[in-house]
């Protein structure tokens, strides 16, 4: 039996993923697998990853998040990373890290708007 790393909420064809745990390397890798499985099983067309509770996003975590978005895209699903904290955004930008293959939004409403426009 697979245990979920993060409890998710399915809304229409979308999957809302509120991350409220510390993202260490193993956790973010398990989250990637979980999301890919959910996209396939529940026929998800858009995932919204809410990172408003995540205090630290370093190069590896952003790599795995981007990679997940790229994998999701290959499965016909778009990814929106939602509500990055200002200090996390500052740190990522200063390090020169770009979140490739994912859209970004500053609210859940905006994230849903983005996904609606893509359909």
């Amino acid at each position: 039996m697979k245990t979920k790393v993060v409890p998710t909420i399915k809304l229409y064809d979308y999957l809302i993923v509120p991350i409220q745990i510390e993202l260490d390397d193993a956790t973010v890798e398990r989250l990637q697998m979980q999301l890919l499985n959910e996209i396939s099983e529940k026929k998800i067309r858009g995932i919204i990853i809410d990172v408003s509770m995540v205090d630290i996003i370093d190069s590896y975590i952003s790599f795995v998040l981007s990679e997940t978005a790229a994998m999701a895209k290959a499965m016909g699903c778009y990814t929106v990373i939602c509500k990055i904290q200002p200090q996390v955004a500052l740190t990522l930008a200063q390090m020169g890290i770009k979140l490739k293959d994912a859209f970004t939004a500053n609210s859940l409403e905006r994230a849903i708007e983005i996904l609606n426009q893509l359909d």
Partner: protein, 152 residues
């Protein structure tokens, strides 16, 4: 700021440091960054700088775990003069394989690891106020980085 001429000259006195942490498995990466975060918070660094310090420690610990398998993170508060503002010094030290081309590793965008952006060391240099690295192939790597506390 420390400057070593030779790898064998490195002599870190653990008693000088507030935090000494051995990095030997993947979990230690998040332990290290949490400790760095609380330490910077305790010393009233701004939220932005707390995040930068914790992220830098995360990158350095991951490098140790990934490339050297084992090593240490040392963190201390530095006071240059009384009433002057303080800084936090971070040392990442390992006796791993070393880095063949240090300049290339620090410039960023280059990695020997499959699942990486190659931005770790370059990122640490950008996030911190000062950055020093010495690496010898077959001997190991040491990174010394410092962040001053800013008035906010």
């Amino acid at each position: 700021m420390m400057n070593y001429q030779n790898f064998k000259d490195i002599d870190i006195n653990v008693h000088d440091y507030d935090i000494v942490l051995k990095i030997k498995d993947e979990n230690d990466i998040s332990v290290a960054r949490q400790m760095a975060k609380s330490f910077a918070q305790k010393h009233n660094f701004s939220l932005a700088d707390v995040t930068k310090i914790a992220t830098a420690v995360s990158e350095l610990s991951r490098n140790i775990y990934r490339y050297a398998k084992e090593g240490y993170i040392y963190i201390k508060k530095k006071e240059t003069e009384p009433d002057k503002d303080i800084s936090i010094e971070i040392i990442a030290y390992d006796r791993g394989p070393g880095i063949e081309n240090v300049e290339r590793a620090v410039a960023g965008g280059y990695t020997t690891s499959e699942r990486s952006l190659g931005l770790g060391l370059a990122g640490v240099r950008r996030l911190m106020d000062s950055f020093y690295i010495m690496s010898e192939v077959g001997k190991g790597t040491i990174v010394v980085a410092e962040k001053r506390r800013r008035k906010f």
